[in-house]
Subunit: 283 residues, 2 copies
Amino acid sequence: MINRLCIIGVGLIGGSLARALKAKGACHEVVGYSRQVGHLQRAVELGVIDRYEQTVADAIRNADVIVIAVPAGAFDTVFAEIADAASARAIITDVGSVKESVIRSAAMYLEHHLARFVPGHPIAGSEKTGVEASDAGLFVNAKVVLTPTAGTDPGAVKIIRDMWNSAGADVVEMDAGEHDRILAATSHLPHLLAFALVDLLAQMDGKTDVFSYTGGGFRDFTRIASGDPQMWHDICLANRDAVVAVIESYRASLDTLGKAIEQEDSRFITSMFIRAKQARDRF
Amino acid sequence: MINRLCIIGVGLIGGSLARALKAKGACHEVVGYSRQVGHLQRAVELGVIDRYEQTVADAIRNADVIVIAVPAGAFDTVFAEIADAASARAIITDVGSVKESVIRSAAMYLEHHLARFVPGHPIAGSEKTGVEASDAGLFVNAKVVLTPTAGTDPGAVKIIRDMWNSAGADVVEMDAGEHDRILAATSHLPHLLAFALVDLLAQMDGKTDVFSYTGGGFRDFTRIASGDPQMWHDICLANRDAVVAVIESYRASLDTLGKAIEQEDSRFITSMFIRAKQARDRF
């Protein structure tokens, strides 16, 4: 049982976590902070948080657990504000999609709170954003990756693990670098591919409305291109090296497939499509 | 009103068209042909077709409209069989995803029936295949592209246009080459990208189950990688030149994006993502 939970950034992820923990009685009080007071007022109206404060320092006062659910670009500032005002026993975690960059930022700003910082990433989401879209069931059966370092207090890891379990998630621990390489392939690359495809079609879209010659498959394929451009920009830069490396691997694959089509290499084409279909159907 | 409609290839598309026309009373009798008698028996049981024959020649006897709904690889054979046995007034159409290759094949095999051949492509479908998945509503508000040539009889085009309108579709006419270039971008390329991504992940999938670190976005994005590998192989080869060209354009886009990420060119990345999101949200 968490006595006072503070959510910094009450959007889809932060709001859904607050809802889930309140629904399970896993925390006594939820205090919210956000740069936009309007979002906080709405979060109180919706019953997502119990109350809010207008500075990070006020919001985290006497908090047992502080969850940072802000965009990748805002971590440095938030860490610095927390370092000045968090209680000595507060456990700090985050929900960022890229972990090595967050760990670097924490090492730089969190000072004597560093051992109680547990880097985390719930693999759940939606193209929808904001507290209005928050949902107590968002994390049920979702995977949450925690990437503690050698210096992280195991007791702090246990509390964050229990918190996510209460929200219905399946928690795993992993090295931050491995997390970032996997997510570059399973999440960041697909988003880049979808953005690049829609942009290519938009450029072709002269006198013919090419988007009207698409079916349900295209709609599904490009749904993720409706994601928040600023958020995906921040993720690409925060995970730059892994993203650049996986784009390279993908380009090499696409090159080989393109050459096989040009040369009518039926065996290569069919076996790639069969392997992919089997992997997709299993999953 | 079509008196006798013959469907060659009673699968998802052929079956759905038969269901739609019967539901609207737009044809009197539907005769089916397929290489697999089991499919035909099931189609009769489901009420999709009225009866079936075991040769193309028997199936098309006295048919007013013949719809060819077979995989891209089977067109030559079917056209040759039709040329020998169709009545002089029969109107022939197809539902193939690539039009220039079908037109070349028709020119080679259809002989004196060529003027009454109306190349067509309903842009509708599903990862599901087979007559069991057929649905009278599949074409409601779907786009159907007809690509008549200079030699096509306008009266025949009108009958096929009316047929698709009866099924609820929105019919447009277009040059076959333009159709093939557009579909290479809106349909064939997305499928290739999804197959290539899932295959890349399957290759990474050693000791870590990378597929378990994916969310709903990935599921949507890769749904089309569950498509029939043989069918997509056939489409890639039938539309080879347009597919190779659009892969090239896409690779160039992806290259530029990869370099922008490497060089942290925020302005370029953000503006591409914003353009894509706006185009996706409009559509």
